[in-house]
């Protein structure tokens, strides 16, 4: 069983997946952020490898990517953060990036490097389903889960196919749109979680992301049947407002992650 699935099996209640952009604002500072997120108790760390043209991301994560690229972050640097995280605490690490940086290295070579760094899963939001199947085989052959995404526009047939091909968990995009913290979770997000849950139940854990920024959002999606809530932009926004290594800001991130995780567990 994969490390990610083991984690889901071992906890009581919902899980919290926390996103950190590798290299934002620079390598050292992002390691600090990852440590704060770990101290806050994140169940999975999602590490972003910055890409110049992130079409699935909203302003916050785009800006984080720009900061990371400006400070010279390379994919290998982010994999080094992954292996540091794995040595610090045994939580699953999932890397998220777009297909082009993976293609530039070659998918097999990229996945080899990811495995050597202890990466447990990969998320590639612009990989079409047909290619995601092949890519998933290459990943799983290396013990790495390939996490696929489903969206509000995903119909029943396609949902079945995606659920059958994802591993680790299913990443459900809760809104039509891009990543970004939102004030309110819409009613149809909850309906969507229930709909997806009908396909994932008993097969694969269901993670819900995009727009989740408050403990009540976490409670709502877990309450509707999700196994994990995924928070990204809200953390990235906190990083944006701090200077490298500032303890107080890192403390705020840690406290925020803790509150989100408590919400996940207590839902």
């Amino acid at each position: 069983m994969s490390r990610i699935r083991e984690m889901f099996d071992s906890i009581d209640g919902g899980a919290l997946v926390a996103y950190v952009m590798g290299g934002d604002p620079d390598l050292e500072a992002s390691v600090g952020v990852a440590e704060a997120v770990l101290r806050g108790g994140a169940d999975i760390i999602e590490l972003g490898i910055p890409f110049s043209d992130p079409i699935a991301d909203g302003r916050s994560i785009q800006a984080a990517g720009v900061r990371a690229l400006k400070s010279g972050t390379k994919p290998a640097d982010v994999l080094r953060i992954a292996s540091y995280v794995k040595k610090t605490r045994d939580v699953p690490v999932v890397v998220m990036t777009y297909f082009n940086p993976i293609l530039a290295k070659g998918p097999a070579a990229f996945l080899d490097a990811a495995r050597r760094s202890g990466v447990d899963g990969v998320i590639v939001p612009d990989l079409p389903l047909d290619e995601a199947k092949k890519f998933g085989d290459v990943a799983r052959a290396r013990g790495i889960d390939s996490v696929l995404l489903a969206a509000p526009t995903t119909g029943e047939e396609r949902m079945k196919e995606i659920v059958a091909n994802t591993s680790g968990f299913l990443y459900l995009v809760s809104v039509l749109g891009v990543t970004g913290a939102r004030e309110q979770l819409k009613d149809n997000a909850i309906r969507l979680v229930k709909f997806a849950n009908g396909f994932t139940r008993g097969k694969v854990p269901l993670g819900v992301g995009f727009g989740i920024s408050k403990p009540e959002h976490v409670r709502a999606v877990i309450g509707a049947g999700a196994d994990a809530a995924i928070v990204g932009s809200a953390i990235v926004d906190m990083v944006a407002s701090v200077d490298s290594g500032e303890d107080e800001a890192l403390g705020r991130i840690e406290a925020y992650v803790r509150s989100m995780k408590l919400a996940a567990r207590s839902a």
Partner: protein
């Protein structure tokens, strides 16, 4: 349409899951309307009466003499409403959007030519339009921003990334994924996820079809060679497509050579295979897959990707892709102005520059057609500044 939206290995639909339903919907709608007689006759009417088709195929006698080789003809897309070939596509897609029941049209633009053509088509068709434009381009192309606003379009400056065309496309894709139900994304070149490269090619192929007809009536034969500039590649694919199977017609795509090997927008000449804007194609990128800044004196060629069908035509060698640099384009601009009284767009001037060399190497009984994709009024200031005039 090509199998799975691929040209060989290129193209495809590299989009987030939320957009998959949208590209499928578009594929379905396009399949239906492209064969619909009413759609076809509506479009033909607009192209004739609104845009000004057919455009002429002009024998450039003075340029021919100057080159001292093959006869040079100019396909005058610069005479179209709006001053460029872009209107062929915006009218076609605008009509498609309307048939699909979409009320809101979004588009990206670099220099602003596609934005202006979108604004015109949408005004004529009664559609609401919004255009994304890199903040850097908004600064550089104030006049086109004003033109779009006069035509009733809202222009959104894009501050993200490198603040240029590629970022405007990213932003348009983000808007589309957020507003799928009522929004049509009207892409301006043969780029993006399938079916866009096919749709835009089809709407621009009117250029090549007219060339074939006009060349036959002018000299009783097809041209020996066709030359067109390649940025994203819409005017060139429109020129080439009807001739792809006519093997004795040589095809030349001219990319922007910029100021040299490290400073250009010649994607097919210097790029590597990758994925951007929903398609697999050649891309100017660094070794880590980050997509970089490009450079060309012609803003309309300043794009780090290229249409996937061009990538395929390069690999199969059906089209020869060559470059003309900034300086050669400017020279060709001046030459065409003085010899023929035509100010070409700097984009098109790249094609003119190469065509002059090509014609010189050919025989007098042979014939070269150059697609003049747009007029150069928009570039007068750039030329002026380059000459050191007060602007």
């Amino acid at each position: 349409m090509p199998e799975g939206g691929r040209f060989g290995r290129y193209g495809g639909q590299y989009v987030p899951e939320a957009l998959v339903a949208a590209v499928k919907e578009l594929e379905e709608a396009y399949r239906r309307f492209r064969a619909d007689d009413e759609f076809k006759s509506d479009l033909a009417g607009l192209l004739k009466n609104y845009a000004g088709r057919p455009t002429s195929l002009y024998f450039a006698g003075n340029m021919t003499k100057k080159a001292g080789g093959a006869k040079i003809y100019l396909k005058r897309e610069d005479l179209l409403h709006g001053g460029a070939h872009k209107i062929n596509n915006t009218l076609g897609q605008g009509l498609l959007a309307k048939r699909m029941g979409k009320r809101r049209v979004i588009a990206e633009t670099g220099a602003g030519q596609h934005g202006v053509a979108t604004a015109m088509a949408c005004a004529a068709l009664g559609l609401k339009s919004e255009v994304y434009m890199g903040a850097e381009d908004v600064e550089r192309q104030k006049l086109n921003v004003f033109r779009m606003e006069l035509l009733g379009t809202e222009v959104h400056p894009v501050d993200a990334g490198s603040r240029t065309l590629k970022d405007a496309i990213n932003e348009a894709l983000r808007d589309w994924v957020t507003n799928l139900a009522d929004t049509y994304y009207l892409i301006g070149s043969v780029v993006g996820p399938h079916p866009y490269p096919v749709i835009v090619r089809d709407f621009q192929s009117v250029i090549g079809r007219e060339i074939a007809r006009q060349a036959l009536s002018a000299q009783g034969a097809f041209p020996d060679a066709l030359v067109a500039c390649v940025g994203g590649g819409s005017n060139s694919i429109g020129t080439f497509y009807p001739f792809l199977r006519k093997r004795d017609v040589d095809l030349y795509g001219v990319e922007a050579g910029g100021t040299g090997e490290d400073h250009n927008a010649a994607t097919l000449s210097y790029g590597r295979i990758g994925v951007v804007h929903g398609m697999m194609t050649y891309i100017l990128q660094d070794e880590y897959g980050q997509i970089g800044q490009t450079h060309s004196i012609a803003a309309g060629l300043d794009y780090p990707g290229v249409g996937p069908e061009h990538a395929y035509l390069k690999d199969t060698k059906r089209v020869a892709y060559v470059t003309a640099n900034d300086e050669e384009a400017v020279e060709a601009f001046h030459l065409l102005a003085k010899e023929e009284g035509i100010l070409p767009a700097l984009e098109s001037a790249h094609a003119v520059a190469y065509a002059m060399k090509l014609a010189a190497s050919m025989k007098p009984d042979e014939c070269v057609v150059v697609t003049l994709s747009g007029r150069g009024d928009k570039d007068v200031q750039i030329i002026g500044e380059r000459k050191g005039f007060e602007s």
